[in-house]
């Protein structure tokens, strides 16, 4: 029951987890005959050592902030939305339609349109599972999972049969007009005099994601809806006593979750790829679950966890580029970090608590 000081809980525990993860990774790398120090240095330098690498890190992190927030907002209402993948896929469709159908004179207008479209498409994709859960008691885990598959199939049909330009064999839309391309993070920072590389996909969506994290925090802890949502998530029976409508809260929570998942598309589709490809989400919807868990369902924690995952993704790419470590081993390294930081913090917490208790006793003595 002894509680750790807050700083230790928030900073020290993840840090120790990270160090343990790196230690295991080092053993693994050494076992395949590579230099662990070199590999870890490449990961760190390649993802944080330059604004070029940092841009990639931030680009990946942006995706995870969106999907992590989406998962967490449903978690707060005790709903396990694992349909982020499908909702983000549909968000991509919304973004693509917004960018392709209307000849926008300026990116800012296109951005507003695609924000609305991606959120609406993502939310719409969560609506039916939400309704089924709220009214019919069909379990959300099953339905959202199934809707991921339906989303893949739908996207395949739409891209292959409708949106694919004639003569192209890539199941993807045409490139969006240049006018809808979002400003790069490097360009934005350049305006305020901070030199930052523009040769990476980091774009204004990162700032939108940060703003959204703040907005989610306000929503959860400073609005009636957030209050009702959290109360419902903690104790459903008590929420009913308080007059909170379980059907409405379930639907609202999942609409919000789906909408935020959908917003991921402004980063991945409009901000980076400039076109909609078949697999535009690439598992970020599932990574969002890990991010939300690691971030303890708090927007601030989710931003931090997303940065860590962004680092892992970019670091992994750099490992592939800079060493001959096989792709499969890189995946294992990434999994190790997720395992230790996400799933095993309690392993570290207990001994650390004992240590703190002993220190406190010594001090008192």
């Amino acid at each position: 029951m002894t509680k750790l000081p807050r700083w230790a809980d928030v900073v020290l525990v993840p840090l120790i987890c990270l160090i343990i993860a790196f230690a295991f990774s080092a053993i693994l790398i050494a076992a395949i005959g590579q230099s662990p120090a070199h590999a870890i240095w490449i990961m760190i330098d390649g993802s944080l050592g330059s604004t070029y690498g940092l841009g990639y890190t931030l680009y990946f992190a942006t995706n995870f902030i969106f999907t992590g927030l989406a998962v967490s907002i449903a978690f707060q209402a005790s709903l396990f939305n694992i349909g982020g993948e499908g909702q983000a896929t549909l968000g991509g469709l919304g973004t693509a339609l917004a960018c392709l159908l209307i000849p926008w004179p300026h990116w800012s207008l296109a951005l507003m349109a695609s924000i609305l479209a991606s959120a609406a498409f993502g939310a719409a994709w969560a609506l039916l599972p939400a309704w089924l859960q709220a009214r019919r008691g069909s379990h959300i885990v099953i339905t959202t999972m199934m809707f991921n598959f339906i989303a893949y199939a739908l996207m395949n049909y739409v891209l292959v049969n409708i949106l694919r330009p004639q003569g192209s064999m890539d199941p993807a839309t045409a490139r969006f007009p240049v006018t809808v391309n979002l400003p790069k993070l490097g360009d934005i920072l350049g305006v305020v005099g901070i030199p930052f590389s523009s040769k990476n996909p980091a774009n204004i969506s990162f700032l939108i994601a940060i703003a959204l994290a703040f907005a989610v925090w306000v929503l959860l802890w400073h609005t009636r809806l957030g209050y009702a949502l959290r109360a419902f998530g903690k104790q459903e029976k008590a929420a009913i006593y308080a007059g909170i409508d379980p059907v409405r809260i379930t639907i609202y929570a999942l609409l919000l979750s789906g909408g935020i998942s959908g917003l991921m598309a402004i980063n991945a589709v409009q901000g980076a790829a400039h076109r909609l490809v078949l697999n535009s989400v690439e598992g970020a919807g599932f990574i969002g679950i890990a991010v939300a868990l690691m971030g303890r369902n708090h927007p601030f924690g989710i931003v931090l966890a997303s940065l860590l995952f962004g680092f892992l993704y970019q670091g992994g790419t750099q490992l592939a580029l800079g060493t001959t470590i096989p792709r499969e081993v890189i995946t294992v390294l990434q999994a190790l970090v997720i395992l230790f930081t996400g799933a095993l913090p309690y392993m570290v917490q207990r001994p650390l608590e004992a240590l703190f208790a002993r220190l406190a006793r010594k001090e008192a003595a």
Binding site: M1, T2, K3, V218, W221, H222, T223, R224, Y227, A228, R230, A231, K234, Q235, K237, A238, I240, Y241, A242, G243, I244, D245, A357, A360, R361, A364
Partner: protein, 526 residues
Amino acid sequence: MAQATTGGRQATAAPLSPYAIELKGISKSFGPVRANRDINIAVPRGTIHGIIGENGAGKSTLMSILYGFYRADAGTILINGHETAIPDSQSAIRAGIGMVFQHFKLVQNFTVLENVILGAEDGALLNTSLARARKVLGELSREYDLDVDPDALVEDLSVGHQQRVEILKALYRQADILILDEPTGVLTPEEADHLFRILQGLKDQGKTVILITHKLREIMAVTDNVSVMRRGTMVGTVKTSQTSPEALAELMVGRKVLLEVEKKPAAPGRLVLDVRDLRVKDDAGVERLKGISLSIRAGEILGIAGVAGNGQSELLEALGGIADATGHVVMNGVELPLAGRRNNGQTRRAAGISHVPEDRQSLGLIMDFTAWENIGFGYHNAPEYQRNALLMNNAALRADTERKMATFDVRPPIPTLAAKSFSGGNQQKIVVAREIERNPDLLLVGQPTRGVDIGAIEFIHKQILGLRDAGKAILLVSVELDEIMGLADRILVMFDGRIMGERDPEKTNERELGLLMAGITETKGA
């Protein structure tokens, strides 16, 4: 330190100390909360020692330290005069300490025998353990009048029998010191009497019993000595024969306590609530409320007496907008919706109904929420808690919480503490403060003082009476007859979803009510 006496038992094996347990200078803090401060206590061997105190006084923390659940920040534990470290419950068991918790730790679909040996199996084969345990269990049962069928499934046993299994578990592990935490909270009066006989038997066999309770009657009935705790400190240990309930209550609370509330005669006014033919079915379609009709006037308390599970909960839920019902409920002349989307807690609150639910931990509070969030619970849409159309005014809610905590003497008065960190009595005060302070026309109250300590009981009763005297209508549901008799202006007795009859508390007695509660309508003069 108050003087403690040695028990009547002759020491044969030359123990070093006449005390089974001595605690010296025990302190324990949880963050800002100092649960135990420099506690000293000595329990003579072969006695029943009561530890009494209000909820939150630190009794449970102290026993958890003794049983190895918590580690004390400071202090030493002596068992039979030997200094003993108890880092976990296994060490406690080795030191001869057995614990019977308020909430039993039994595997429901195991037999009594299986539960008893669970965790104490010896040998690889279960059969030998079971055979040995059966023999030992038989001896123990006879010796201590702990009559339980070893092959019965725990889930089929009554609460009182389950408790005996817990005691048997401890004895099977050769406990010499038995700690019981609020053992009578879940028992009927008859079961409680049986338990006390068992404890007496244990004492006669030389065992040491520590009884943690907040019920003065039990302390007076069975203990030899009693230690009183208040706000984390030990305020005194006295011989039971040399004290009185009033003196103990004063020690516990730190001031004089009125054990019976003073009540002015009621002055019923206009009709506030009129209920006609109210019926509720449960999820399985079984009718739980079979046509209830009642009415409450302003300025009166209508008490609902009955054994738990006879429809009282359904009555409260139907009136509180939690469950769907059929029939008619007219509040201040307006008919309330009993089903559909308009039937919810929000519309009830808007109609002037406040509700202190029977189960504060699963209904009345969100245990993980802070106190200030809980003060807004159910009223989170109230205009005074809003900053604008979009945002809530958390600062206003927090300020309101501070005010209410002060008025209702909630301890500790920290609005940012989670509800689960408060003691039961203080949790209930938060709920009562929230509901009464809305100044409702009708207050629904279920089991207002269940698991609440004396000081808080007195306080809550005063608040309910105050609301009545302010001309409000109150529906009081309680399984405690004392409470109903003391507070209600009229008493309805419920049995099997029906009202068995109405009685005037001044003109009835526990026996008459008890028969009604059992579903027996007595003919006058019989």
